[in-house]
Symmetry: C4
């Protein structure tokens, strides 16, 4: 087991090349938010954008499109019910995040299957929230892609079959090895599992215990994997930075809004890059 | 009669346990805002969220759903006309706030009765604004729950039958004892009545005399009772902190927007918690 | 002719009585914004709210209702096509502002006539922008109310028949005396005309020369006349403060957004009130 | 080739005349944003408004109208499908920006042709993004107007037929001379081409490599050409200032949101004007 430290940020977040172009920093597509959970995609996309993804796309319930454009003018919003457009987008991007606010309706399930059918081996696919529950409930096989799962403990119980009290590193690792996925197991001290290794994140603050922290983390992992080549480092650095910012904000805030974390990402990233 | 002081904040707002989870800080459902009074639910929900409720849900006119998601991405917004979904939500949460912007239509009345039918003894039910008028007008019985009423003086006159000039502590207390409710009687110096006791709040600033102060207070009481076990203390502390923040802002602002009060809640709560 | 100075602010903006209630600070109804000019009512209402009107209502095209609730949760928004509701509101408030973004359609004309029919002698009626043009074009008689007209020079030309180059104080005053109105003639150095007197405002900054300055001024006059008893002083103080804040912001801003002026109103008012 | 320096800002951004009027600072119409790309027109219009255009109009997909009013109340929003209204607006303004978020549908093409038919020689017409691609794809002739094209390198390849690797100053200039247009060729170090001269901008920061930088630049050129008489200087100064602000923000931000650039325009312009 490896304890993460500020080094993971220094190893990952580099000064950008002087001559570069938005295409150099990746394209991320976030899919989620039914009509009731419209805020989740806003929070995830805000995190992706402010993490530095070159372009950020969303596919969501049509009721959420106006809100996205107004909340984040830099983000492109599409209706996730327009299948042709969605498939074109899937092939256009290098990172896909599915799950924030997706819900567990029949439509959500069909959409998830659609993504799994069209994603390719070179793409990073981050699977969060109700998308994880759908996989567990319908026993779906993960697609051939660089998959990242971001369950909290209860979602992991449903997916792995391991009860929360029995979620030891050894038991977890065994299931992770069957999944051929990176698993970000969210809890007070989040752990990141690969096939061979377990990484311990910073312990988190209870001020983050509010709706939307997970959506923000999924969006950050999207933004980091879109632009940084070392995918594992990108996942580790995003997870670490999410907690580090929240812990700092918790010095002065009894509760930390997830959107506040996102607003601080560019400032923290620049502090790290300029010292590198 | 007991005069509240900063001690009520210290007694109530504790450092959060290091290892905790959003479920530990309660689930609050706010019900209100017809199409004309769309801002009330936004203000109440902002106060609940920033008071630290683990999860914050709203049920409102469908015209308000997009506004809620965009204004408060952390909050879940549902259509209050979808009865099945609403009843599921009522059973899912531990605190319910009903009234901000609800209006006094036949639909509002039917909705209020629905809540009264489904709420349980373990739940906190905060009844505000037009919900109080509906109870007075249709002589509704309060349900078996931990009810909190938050009338201003005119609403209290309608509910209690006591004219404003006759609203003495003794007269008020007699009616409160019949209601088996905590009553937060809002006025220049708000009083909180229980079956046995009367608590005097800080005197308030006239800079708060603007639409939305009451919605914000109802939301704060929701957020505090959702996360703190001592329910009476939670009500007292929310009421006291609402006034304290407004009074401080009034040092520099001729009028204090209720949404400004909410934005300061996490900062004040942290100052108190870290000194504890 | 009287040159206004900071004294008009000191004479008007008093410390609020400690024991007071939102009803003590007036109720203002703003009517305007068709579907194309949706921003005007937002700017006017923001100014009214932040000037300290106890309650702020708007009646507008239904397409603007969601935007108002979200932009200004403290403000109540209604559909100006619902005639019964509108008439009830007119009788409910003490100040009415009509014109910002109203446009000059047949509907606008009908609406304006409706207001004129229902307004009463005790009410302040502020007439701005296209409402002034409609009066000029259709030769409407002003209603029996405390009317305030806020034309810029071209609107004044249309209404008074005096060409801009011929708009001397003497010529203007003659027409004002026929109108039995206060006229706020907006230009580089705005003048306020009553039946007997002419007041010169501060000269304004060219940084204010952008869409929305007038809507903001109309809203401020609404907020000031709603809460302060000396109606003429309220008009003079609102006009003076609008320019004073803009001039101060122009020290650091090449263009001053009208919404920035509004955000500063409570700070300026408090500075004045606490020195009184 | 001329290297631009801070002098272009001093030469262009003058103190405004004390006695002036919003009509003195021009009227800009921005046309763009289909339903998917709703954010582009918001970003472009924000830049135009904050650059100091006297009045800012937009014509866009009807789904975007509410978002514009709420995001930028100072801006007037119209439905670009209402042809009569659009043509009236075209004749009403002195600067037109077409392209941000326009897309390349048949409707986009028809709209572009409509603009080309109605624009006049005295007007500035800024052509950006997909509008450039449509010209290339359908081999459209540029209208008789003061046209400005703002392609990035790939759009320039499509329009000029010169592959990116072959885009030498000489080759580019030859095509520019055929177009009778000013061409702002966006890249790490943007170049501005006129018939006779090539101007080198400041090198830009990679922190700007995110969606929306181009929309913001097009909006700034709109705002500058609307108010400043020397049109070439206005274009050069807008381009230079856009990069200068972004470079400054990149000292502390790993990614710079285009909307942050816009928020800083009035502050930078005032610093320059007051030193003049």
């Amino acid at each position: 087991m490896i304890n993460l430290s500020d080094n993971i940020l220094k190893d990952t977040i580099q000064k950008r090349k002087t001559i570069s172009h938005k295409g150099d920093f990746g394209k991320t597509l976030l899919i989620g938010s039914n009509a009731n959970f419209g805020g989740a995609i806003l929070m995830a996309a805000k995190a992706t954008l402010l993490s530095g993804s070159g372009l950020t796309y969303t596919a969501t319930d049509p009721n959420n499109v106006t809100a996205i454009h107004q909340y984040l003018p830099e983000v492109i919003a599409t209706n996730y019910k327009q299948t042709d457009q969605l498939i074109t987008l899937i092939h256009h991007v290098n990172v896909i995040v599915i799950g924030p606010g997706l819900g567990n309706s029949w439509f959500s399930l069909a959409l998830l299957k659609q993504i799994f059918n069209h994603v390719s081996e070179q793409q990073v696919l981050i699977i969060d929230a109700s998308a994880i529950d759908l996989i567990a409930k319908y026993d779906l096989n993960l697609p051939k892609a660089k998959t990242v799962l971001t369950p909290h403990q209860m979602e992991w119980q449903r997916l792995s079959g391991i009860k929360i009290v029995d979620q030891t590193p050894e038991a977890n690792l065994k299931i992770v090895q069957q999944l051929h996925s990176v698993v970000v197991l969210k809890k007070h001290q989040t752990q990141i599992y690969t096939n061979q290794e377990i990484y311990n994140n910073l312990p988190g603050t209870p001020a983050m215990a509010t709706g939307g922290s997970g959506d923000t983390l999924a969006g950050m992992i999207g933004g980091f994997t879109a632009q940084f080549n070392e995918k594992l480092n990108a996942i580790l650095a995003a997870t670490y930075l999410h907690t580090k910012i929240a812990n700092d904000l918790a010095q002065t805030h009894y509760v930390v809004r997830p959107t506040q974390i996102s607003e601080n990402i560019p400032l923290y990233m620049q502090t790290i890059a300029q010292d590198n």
